[in-house]
């Protein structure tokens, strides 16, 4: 599950799941929800690979990939499938559509960034610049 939390100028995404992989899937679905201006559009999928030195940075890079695809391809993600994590690398297939979207998100930031496993729950939070 995810929720969008208030922040004076930006927006914060908070995620709770039962696996590290599902944090990435949930972030993709949340991002699609945020930028989509409606249903429909041409179905599209993208295979993505993310590399970063730590878990938190991998989440930032994952969101940066979504922002890049939104900006350059009008890509609205609906889901992330076959999410696979090995070492510092995340591999997944993004499924979604090319559709009108709100050019809202500038970047994912490291401010207040969290991504941790506590008591069988994976929790992450990340502030997006909008």
């Amino acid at each position: 599950m995810h929720e969008w939390r208030s922040h004076t100028a930006e927006i914060e995404l908070a995620i709770e799941t039962d696996s590290e992989e599902r944090v990435f899937a949930e972030a993709a679905a949340a991002f699609g929800e945020l930028v989509a201006l409606g249903d429909g559009g041409e179905p599209v999928q993208h295979d993505v690979t993310i590399d970063a030195a730590d878990r938190e940075a991998r989440l930032v890079q994952w969101l940066e990939e979504l922002i890049f695809l939104a900006d350059t391809e009008s890509f609205v993600p609906d889901s992330a499938q076959n999410v696979f994590i090995e070492g510092n690398t995340v591999i997944a297939t993004l499924k979604g559509r090319r559709a009108p979207l709100e050019p809202l998100v500038k970047a994912a930031t490291y401010h207040g960034l969290r991504f941790a496993h506590d008591n069988d729950v994976w929790r992450a939070q990340v502030v997006l610049d909008v």
Partner: protein
């Protein structure tokens, strides 16, 4: 925040001793009412974090429009001593050279008359928000990154009346990543969303006739204020270099209270590469606002005729998210302005000759339903804030809180009842930018005027708004 003490009528300070990691004090320009609003978020804590940056001099400084951002607060500035003080991409922000440009039309609001709605509509058709592969102008990107606004300017006067003549020295297109180029390629001449806008206004009141005369402004005149930045290209440049600097903190022995403040010595390979890429992105932003201005002029021609188009002059263009090398107090410093505007006074050789006796124009956008201000830089800015003043009203409410207060469609009706024509791609976005989500711009401007950073020249009230 009990450590905050009042220095004078408009200045508050948190001592450098308040935290063991602070290198300089945290200083704020405000009054009691504004301070009460500022205390509601974490912006002062963020200002203290800025005070920990290696090489920072004098103080981490905040303007009265300060509000919580990420890393740096919005409405903050930090000067680091060169050559080895740090440069922090987060101290400029993702929207590199976000800024404001003011155009003045040779017609009064009476003359515009019933053509006002057609004019706002023509602007909305000419200046897209810029989602995905939109209708941005295709240009020689290398030339834009290197030379800025002049590449797309039709008039030399526009270049002359732009901060740094619309071109930052040291720009190196090779330091801009392929991803950044892909994001920016189709976005030149587009507005973006969030708080970006093109606003049609009426000059409501003149406070300083000499300066208004120099700027070519008179009561009742129609003006157009453009607020936009470097679009996806600048966002990606910042992302690229925050990542780079995050990875080299240990190499330079830098420890920070917030990872978003990631930085490197300005003289280091990473610091030099960022400054070269930031300058290129700043140049892209100036070209973007220039192309938007070109499109606004074409809308003027379509609705008001060629004579009105040729008589539409640019007052000035200012950046409010940028880092610049300047000399203050006899030393060379890198001034990071994050939601803060350069405000050089009369006599500065950095401002157009036509304005040399009155000071640099500064534009302080209001919030759709409220007034915007034209200010002029004052000598106090050089003495107290590294030649800097505020940049806007400053957010008071989060976007979510704003949406809870009003529906976009209702706000649109309210604005139209006030005589403001509204064109927007998103009613949700309109609600997020509702006037009540911002601090009182009159109070913010009052503080910088009393602090001697800038003085009021003119007040502009909105008669039409185009939002992304």
């Amino acid at each position: 925040m009990s450590e905050l003490r009042r220095i004078d009528e408009t200045t508050y300070e948190i001592s450098a001793e308040a935290r063991s990691d602070m290198r300089v004090p945290a200083r704020l320009f405000a009054d009691e009412e504004i301070l009460a609003a500022i205390r509601l978020d974490h912006s002062l804590e963020q200002l203290q974090n800025v005070a920990t940056l290696p090489g920072i001099v004098d103080a981490a400084i905040a303007m009265p429009d300060i509000h919580q951002g990420y890393g740096f607060p919005v409405g903050g500035l930090a000067a680091t001593e060169l050559p080895d003080g740090v440069v922090s991409p987060g101290g400029v922000g993702y929207d590199i050279n976000c800024g404001v440009r003011l155009l003045a039309l040779p017609v009064g609001v009476e003359e515009l008359g019933e053509r006002r709605e057609a004019f706002v509509h023509a602007i909305s058709r000419s200046v897209p928000a810029g989602a995905g592969k939109e209708s941005g102008k295709r240009v020689d990107l290398e030339a834009v990154l290197r030379d800025g606004g002049r590449v797309v300017a039709d008039r030399a006067e526009d270049v002359e009346r732009t901060e740094s003549q619309g071109r930052l020295e040291g720009a190196d297109p090779a330091s801009v990543s392929e991803r950044a180029r892909q994001r920016g390629a189709a976005q030149l001449g587009t507005m973006g969303s969030g708080n970006h806008f093109v606003e049609v206004q009426r000059v409501d009141e003149i406070f300083d006739p000499a300066a208004a005369d120099a700027y070519g402004l008179q009561t009742g005149q129609v003006t157009v204020l453009v607020h936009s930045g470097s679009r996806g290209l600048g966002h990606q440049v910042c992302s690229d270099y925050v990542k780079t600097m995050d990875s080299v903190l240990a190499r330079y022995g830098i420890s920070l209270p917030d990872r978003q403040l990631s930085c490197a010595p300005a003289s280091s390979p990473e610091g030099r590469a960022y400054l070269a890429a930031m300058a290129a992105a700043a140049n892209f932003a100036w070209a973007n606002r220039q192309e938007i201005a070109n499109r606004v002029r074409r809308a003027v021609a379509r609705v008001l005729g060629g004579e009105a188009e040729s008589g539409t002059h640019q007052v000035y263009d200012v950046a409010h998210n940028v880092a610049k090398i300047e000399v203050h107090g006899g030393r060379e410093v890198l001034v990071h302005r994050k939601g803060a505007t350069r405000a050089f006074p009369a006599g500065s050789d950095e401002i157009p000759v036509a304005y040399s006796e009155v000071g640099q124009p500064v534009f302080i956008p209001g919030s759709m339903g409220t007034a915007s201000y034209v200010l002029a830089g004052e000598r106090g800015s050089m003495e107290r804030s590294f030649g800097t003043t505020c940049h806007g009203a400053g957010r008071r409410l989060s976007r979510t809180a704003a949406r809870k207060e009003v529906h976009g469609a209702d706000l649109r009706r309210q604005l139209e009842q006030q005589g403001i024509v509204v064109r927007t791609a998103s009613n949700k976005g309109l609600a997020e930018e509702a006037p009540f989500a911002y601090k009182d711009v009159e109070a913010v401007v009052g503080v910088v005027a009393r602090a001697g950073l800038a003085r009021r020249v003119a007040r502009l009230v909105p008669i039409g708004v185009v939002k992304g």
